[in-house]
């Protein structure tokens, strides 16, 4: 009996949590519960990120998703949560079709995941010998256009990709700004008019 390789153990733990809560999101009827399950699933995914050596991305996952996006979602849940919308039933026929198709899709994906031999794991010695580096600095430099991880690359053709992601970073940042301004405008302007409407038509809307 070999000793437990802890990263593997944690992988299984996190993946189990992640998958089971993802299924929970799928199966839950209550929107509030769904949000809660989603938080847990995403947090477990962040754990998987850590295990894969992507410490900075995992941290971002926790902060942006779990801390930001989901808070936003829960805001939305709370804003729209009238009694009749908390649980909305889907017809069983639809469920059958969806599960059938989902199963097929899952099967295909799993089959594809296991079809590549190179994707199987390394042996334990090699894995233990692998040195895990912090990735925050290379990522930051990469976003600024410098690829510190490829400085010693000998192959000229591979060095071409060294130009980094500064340009994309800029585009994404501008995009984010535009999106947020747009979202704020959209939500605010409509709400003002919508509230007037709601005041006029609220009684007979339901």
């Amino acid at each position: 009996m070999e000793s437990i390789y802890w990263p593997t153990f944690f992988f299984w733990l996190f993946s189990l949590i992640s998958c089971s809560f993802a299924v929970g999101v799928l199966l839950a009827r209550n929107i509030v519960r769904m949000a809660f399950y989603l938080v847990l699933a995403l947090a477990a995914t962040a754990g998987l990120f850590f295990l894969a050596g992507a410490d900075f991305v995992g941290a971002m996952q926790l902060m942006i998703y779990v801390g930001g996006t989901l808070v936003l979602l829960i805001f939305g849940v709370m804003l729209t949560s009238q009694e009749r919308f908390i649980e909305m039933k889907t017809s069983s026929g639809e469920w059958v079709v969806a599960l059938l198709l989902g199963g097929m899709l899952l099967g295909i994906l799993l089959q594809a995941a296991m079809a590549v031999p190179a994707w199987q794991g390394m042996d334990r010695a090699a894995a233990e010998a692998t040195k895990v580096e912090k990735t925050a600095t290379p990522l930051g430099m990469g976003l600024l256009g410098v690829r510190v991880d490829q400085l010693d690359e000998q192959d000229e053709s591979r060095r071409k990709g060294m130009s980094g992601y500064l340009f994309h970073f800029e585009i994404v940042s501008v995009h984010l700004l535009v999106v947020l301004v747009g979202a704020a405008y959209l939500a605010r302007a409509k709400r003002k008019r919508g509230r007037d409407e709601l005041a006029g038509t609220g009684s007979n809307a339901t």
């Binding site: 639809e94 079709v97 969806a98 198709l101 989902g102 899709l105 295909i108 594809a112």
Partner: protein, 827 residues
């Protein structure tokens, strides 16, 4: 010589082309020349005046100084006569030099000789022994422009200028100028909107139309241009072209009042009848060309004066043959070829003595004459000329005197050397019949212009008769004198019509008090046409000289040919009838009491622009036959100078061996002259007396005469039933054939076409029903339907349900994966 030639050709070409220039100008700008083209008239008249001036310059400035006429003094001595028409006789020799020196001998011996040798004589035989013939007259021939050369056929614009050409230019331009001036006055109605009293529209109104003053002068200019072209032409082809131009101009002018049915019919008639004659002319031209290979009249010479191309005349009348008519070798060969081809049985027989080439010559001559018959209104194609009275009177004057009908006589005269004796006999008989028939018809006609028209036909018959009998000078002389007095007569009648507004003589009478100038100038014309003069010694009116010359020639011919005595008497009888109807006309119009008081009261003398030409022409009608005092100049002397080659000798028929065409100079023998002169005078005087007795002294009542000779009167009144005869013989069968063909067209061809159309239509209907409606439409509709159904089905898919879309995406992904893996596996 060369300068003379170039001067002459240049002068005459200018005179010829000026009317063309006027025509073109009026054609394009006529409408803008003053109101209704008033200045077009001045332009055309001015052009003609210049032409006349150029023609007279050519005559008196170039021709006569270079080719003086022989002096008369010598001549009168020799013959003891002072009639100008005689005087050139012995002295043509003066310039063509040698030829005529033996003439007096010929004169004396000719008669017996002709009788004795006639039946066996060939031209060579008889003439070689006895007398010389006359050489060609002085002439200038050359090409202005070569239109084209097709093998041996050369088409050129060429000139042939001799005395006749110049004289004709002078005559035509002078008369045409007078007519132009006259027309300026006569056509003034056309200067404003014109109401045609003879055309009633369908709504009962009289036709109103804008005036066509300029168009009238446009046609007149073209007419004169065409006539000058005929006269100056140097070859048959060019003659033919201008011949047809003259025809088309007469068509335009006769049909000038196109709205009148009678005018358009008359124009058509003139044109169609002329085409009949032209058909013969084409045959004659073809016969000539196929055998002689040329259309040219004269010889084309190079710079040194050597003959390059021989013309028609010099081929037919060679110097070696003493200028006697002799068919060329090519003609004999051609005739022989035609004979063997048409009669195949006779092909291998030895060529019999078939009057070597004479038949071909006869065909050519009669063919050319056919054209002249049409143009000069000879029997049997004379029917168009009286109808041509529908044109305005100035046109009638021009057509009847100087241009159209003169063209036919001129061509006979120009072509004279190529006519064989037999062809001349045909000409003479045609002329004889024409002169008699037309004269008789003129007796009963009451339309003043018709009387004159028939008198024209009759006088043209005289000319043809004279030419046919060998009297070339007599015929051409009569052509020129007749041109003047007939122009005068017509313009006088126009003046009368202008004054009283009717053509009908039965509504006139006593007009000499109202319009004296017209009356007395017309009297001059009448006296000229009947040939009034002191018998034998002269002097007389112009007609006296020319008509006496014709009658003398007829007597000369008659005494030589007892078989053809009718040709001797016809001109005498004609003279009687002419005198009768001309004075009948004058008396009915100008003498006695007015028959229609209303018309008489409104009658008036014509304006000066119309009477001045009358006076001028009257002077010429009186004196054109005279010799110019103190000079040798006279019309007949000029014509004698122009005498065509080889016509001075007596000629004998080849096919009709007893036929003798006498020498024209024989007719001046005193015995013939006396007899003919007295006969002419007495018959004319008798006719005049009869007319006076009936219409002036009223000794006989015309109505009574009409009743007692009713069949004869109606025979003449209906113009010998010629129109009706032609209607039955030609027009009606033509109509029947046309109707049959129309029926064939409508019945057979149309039904074939309609059948084909129906079959086509049926086929297309079948195709439409079977193919179009099912296959094509089915395809189109099918595509549309499938698209529609697909759209409907897709519409069902498009539920708008968000979650369903996601399902579709998933399905798509799955299917894609399956498909890819499947494909990978198979590959």
């Amino acid at each position: 010589m060369d300068t003379t030639a170039s001067n002459l050709s240049t002068l005459l070409m200018l005179a010829w082309l000026l009317p063309l220039a006027s025509f073109v100008l009026i054609l394009f700008f006529g409408k803008y020349m003053g109101s209704h083209g008033k200045f077009a008239g001045y332009l055309a008249t001015g052009a003609l005046l210049c032409s006349a001036a150029l023609s007279f310059t050519a005559m008196f400035g170039v021709w006569l100084p270079n080719h003086p006429l022989p002096s008369t003094a010598h001549h009168t001595e020799e013959h003891g006569e002072d009639v100008p028409s005689e005087e050139a006789h012995g002295h043509v020799a003066a310039y063509p030099v040698e030829a005529i020196s033996a003439q007096p001998v010929a004169l004396q011996t000719d008669h017996e000789h002709g009788e004795a040798d006639g039946h066996h004589a060939t031209a060579e035989h008889s003439d070689g022994e006895h007398h010389a013939n006359n050489a060609p007259p002085v002439s200038y021939f050359g090409d202005w422009y070569t239109l084209g050369q097709f093998g041996s056929l050369k088409l050129t614009i060429s000139y042939y200028i001799d005395t006749l050409t110049v004289a004709m230019f002078c005559m035509v331009s002078l008369i045409a100028t007078c007519v132009h001036f006259y027309a300026l006055g006569y056509m003034h109605d056309e200067l404003h909107d014109f109401t045609d009293p003879e055309v009633t529209m369908s709504d009962g109104e009289k036709l109103k139309r804008p005036g066509r003053f300029y168009r009238f002068f446009q046609y007149l200019s073209l007419f004169c241009f065409s006539m000058f072209g005929v006269v100056i032409s140097g070859n048959m082809a060019m003659v033919f072209v201008f011949w047809e131009l003259v025809g088309i101009c007469s068509y335009f002018l006769i049909g000038f009042y196109i709205e009148r049915h009678s005018a358009s019919t008359a124009a058509n008639k003139a044109f169609i009848v002329n085409r009949v004659g032209d058909f013969g002319m084409l045959i004659g031209m073809m016969a000539l060309w196929s055998s002689l290979g040329t259309f040219a009249f004269g010889d084309l010479k190079d710079a040194e004066g050597h003959v390059v191309e021989q013309g028609i005349f010099s081929q037919l009348r060679t110097e070696e043959n003493d200028y006697h008519l002799q068919p060329t070798a090519s003609m004999v060969e051609e005739q022989e070829r035609v004979r063997t081809q048409t009669c195949e049985l006779a092909a291998d027989e030895p060529p019999k003595q078939s009057h070597a080439g004479q038949w071909l010559l006869l065909i050519a001559g009669v063919g050319i004459f056919c054209g002249c018959v049409g143009k000069s209104a000879q029997f049997p194609l004379h029917v168009w000329l009286p109808d041509a009275m529908e044109g305005p009177t100035p046109v009638s004057a021009l057509v009847h005197s100087a241009t159209m009908v003169a063209a036919g006589v001129y061509l006979v005269g120009r072509f004279y050397p190529a006519f064989s004796p037999e062809a001349l006999l045909v000409i003479a008989y045609v002329g004889c019949i024409t002169l008699f028939v037309a004269a008789t018809i003129a007796i009963t006609a009451t339309d003043i212009k018709r009387v004159l028209a028939y008198s024209t036909v009759s006088q043209l018959g005289y000319m043809m008769l004279a030419l046919g009998l060998g009297g070339w000078v007599a015929g051409m002389f009569h052509l020129i004198t007749h041109a003047f007095f007939k122009g005068l007569l017509f313009m006088c009648s126009g003046s009368v019509i202008h004054g009283v507004h009717t053509n009908d003589m039965t509504e006139m009478g006593g007009l000499r008090k109202k319009m004296p100038i017209t009356a007395y100038t017309m009297l001059v014309g009448c006296l000229a046409i009947i040939g009034a003069g002191i018998p034998i010694i002269g002097p007389g009116f112009s007609g006296y000289y020319s008509k006496d010359a014709i009658i003398e020639q007829a007597w000369s011919f008659g005494s030589n040919n007892p078989h053809h005595a009718v040709l001797k008497w016809a001109p005498i009888v004609g003279a009687f009838i002419t005198a009768f109807y001309m004075f009948r006309l004058w008396y009915m119009t100008f003498a006695g009491k007015p028959r229609n008081q209303d018309r008489y009261d409104h009658a008036h003398e014509s304006p000066r622009v119309m009477t001045m030409p009358l006076v001028i022409l009257a002077v010429f009608a009186l004196g054109i036959g005279w010799q110019l005092p103190f000079t040798d100049l006279s019309t007949s002397a000029l014509l004698e100078q122009a005498r065509p080659v080889g016509t001075l000798a007596t000629s004998h028929g080849e096919i009709l061996s007893e036929l003798v065409i006498p020498n024209e100079h024989d007719s001046h023998a005193p015995a013939i002259k006396w007899a003919a002169g007295w006969a002419a005078f007495s018959t004319a005087a008798a006719g005049l007396l009869l007319a006076t007795a009936i219409y002036l002294w009223k000794l006989l009542d015309p109505q009574e005469l009409k009743q007692s000779f009713k069949p004869l009167h109606s025979w003449l009144w209906n113009k010998w039933w010629f129109d009706e005869l032609y209607q039955i013989i030609f027009v009606a069968p033509c109509m029947i054939v046309a109707r049959t063909i129309t029926r064939f067209d409508l019945g057979v061809i149309d039904s074939i076409l309609h059948g084909a159309a129906a079959v086509c239509k049926g086929c297309s209907k079948v195709v439409y029903a079977v193919f179009d409606q099912t296959v094509v439409d089915g395809m189109a509709n099918g595509v549309a339907g499938v698209t529609w159904d697909l759209g409907l089905w897709l519409r069902k898919i498009q539920t708008g349900n968000l979650r369903q879309y996601i399902m579709f995406i998933v399905i798509g992904t799955v299917v894609l994966f399956v498909a890819i893996s499947f494909v990978q596996r198979t590959i």
